[in-house]
Amino acid sequence: MLAHNLFLAWKSLRKNPVLSLLMIGAIGMGIGVCMTTLTVYTLMSNNPIPQKSDVLYAVQLDSWDPNEAWGEPNLPPSQLNWRDTQALLKSDIPKRQVAMFRSGFAVQEPSNKLPAFIAEARVTTRDFFEMFDVPFIYGGGWDAPADRDQQQLVVLTKKTNDKVFGGTDSVGKTLKLDDREFRVVGVTEDWKPTPKFYDLNNGSFAKPEELYVPFGLIEPLQLKSFGNTNGWKPEQINSFQDFLNAEEIWLQYWAELPDTKTREAYQAFIDQYVREQKKLGRYPRPLNNRLTNVVDWMKVNEVVTEDAKVLLGLSFLFLAVCLLNIVGLLLSKFLGKSGETALRRALGATRLQIMQKNLVEVGLIGLLGGVLGLLLALAGLQGVKQLYRNYEKLVQLNGELLLVALGIALVSSLIAGLYPAWRAARLAPAGLLKTQ
């Protein structure tokens, strides 16, 4: 019966193409707008590392201004300074820990055939790769001594390796970064966690850096931050060493704490560290150190903006308005076919069978509207892409979202069609047969 009802629905749509197109267009518009905002929203609120998000913690120490919190409500800074980072790195409580920041280099490939180019780099301790499950094509990260011994090693991303070495296995080869020779130890896959949770200071949806170098090189090479650097008090900074010793915050710090016991031990460790620093005249604010897991970290940093939430709500309201219009059009369509409905009732159709027939037609309209909506959503996402370059990664519909779009189109149109279908099924056949 479903196949037959689909056949009848298709005939009915073709019989009145203008009305059908109006309804399909209305659903398509609603779904298109909804899916555009829902796609952006879903990817904004995506858990970028679900397998580990509950054991990875952003470390925050409240070294900020005694008169004013870094953020409301009473939030400690999201980055650390050099001195504190050095102290925390000495702890062996976390399973893994990472201190890092965003920098950059002028890259020159060995044969000098290509012109040099500027590449963003992440300067990081070695645990970065294992802690964040970074996949490698060739080689791997560097060993622990590299962070201490100031070895000039580099891990390239696939894109950089393609550009400099034509995609070949470049492990062991060298390239120049700011005119210094670095040896390649690994090449990562095309790894793009979205949002870029481990460094939300420099754009929640920014691309990962193009290469990685050891954290130990900061001092000898005087590596500068390409990201945000913040301070709360005037400080005399005349040299790179002054900068490292200042209260300026510019480093991201993450710890992998696999269980509650380890987390509590680490919390006690950082609290104790801050207490000791207070004795030295630092940390003027009350104790307020935090360990925040990935999901909470994205909430604290408002990765999903209020604008996005409002837009999502508005887009569903728009869909509701479209559906209300469809209710009217469907009523007009079904009541316009009351003669046929009366005939079918006279020939033995139950009210339920009439409702089913009409709802199949509504469902077909919904599905066609869903397909149109997907096309409009693709266009809408291209528009988002043009407007917001940072959201480039967000503007793609995956299979799951395609199904969601069709599901929303189907379910919402069926809901909109319930009343008209019910009204049509309740028509008394006797009075309508003469006029058929």
Partner: protein
């Protein structure tokens, strides 16, 4: 086959009450061909709608094929209509965008027959009305008489126990009207009970019995089968 006793039906609006049927009693035997006549507004159509289970009534009892249908649910009445009743309307009431085949198929699908059985019945019914070669045509491609024959085929395909015809020749010219009437007589002669509402006295005379309805009540019976038998006896 059809036994109505003291049926009444009142249509109410905020201002007016219209007694469409009052104390209406009628008994139609199995295999009869009954014509129902009467002026406009006399209650013929209301009677036909109630008899065809398209309308409920206020008081009285109604037995259809021995079953009391006075208090049946809407679903049960739909099923009974589908299984026991065939309708033929003045305006043919074919679905314009369905082919002849698909029009005849409509009640069979609601009956739940499988595809093979439906095809057998549709082809048989179209054969019976002489339209087997027009199965793929749309109603608009047929003459009025042919359309009414499709409607008859649709009514016959479900092998109903009783056929209700509402002015079945009202929209046809005299030649086509005669053909349709002959077809109804043939159907009746094979055992199907027919109740036909008509304005046309000539048409009514072809039935076994003529029931005249006036002001919602049966006002007169004429038994043509007995008159015909008497005529035959005199002639002999």
């Amino acid at each position: 086959m059809l036994q109505m006793t003291h049926i009444s039906k009142v249509f109410r609006t905020d201002l007016v009450q219209t007694h469409a049927l009052r104390d209406f009693s009628l008994n139609v035997k199995e295999g009869e061909f009954v014509a129902v006549t009467g002026p406009s507004g006399s209650g013929k159509t209301t009677f036909l709608n109630i008899a065809g289970l398209l309308e409920t009534f206020d008081t009285g009892t109604y037995l259809l094929d021995g079953k009391d249908v006075s208090h049946l649910s809407d679903d049960s009445r739909s099923r009974l209509r589908n299984e026991k009743i065939g309708f033929i309307f003045q305006g043919f009431n074919l679905i314009p965008d369905l082919s002849v085949f698909d029009n005849v198929d409509v009640p069979l699908r609601y009956r739940g027959f499988d595809g093979k059985e439906r095809r057998r019945r549709i082809e048989g019914a179209l054969e019976q009305v002489g339209l087997a070669s027009r199965a793929k045509h749309l109603p608009s491609q047929l003459s009025g008489g042919q359309q009414q024959r499709v409607a008859i085929a649709r009514a016959l395909a479900g092998t109903p126990r009783i056929l209700f015809a509402d002015e079945p020749t009202g929209n046809l010219d005299s030649l086509m009207a005669r053909q349709v009437l002959e077809m109804l007589e043939e159907i009746n002669s094979s055992g199907t009970t027919i109740v036909m509402v008509t304005h046309d006295p000539e048409l009514a005379r072809r039935a076994h019995r003529n029931i005249h309805v006036m002001d919602g009540q049966v006002s007169d019976f004429t038994d043509f089968s007995q008159a015909s038998a008497a005529r035959d006896a005199l002639a002999a």
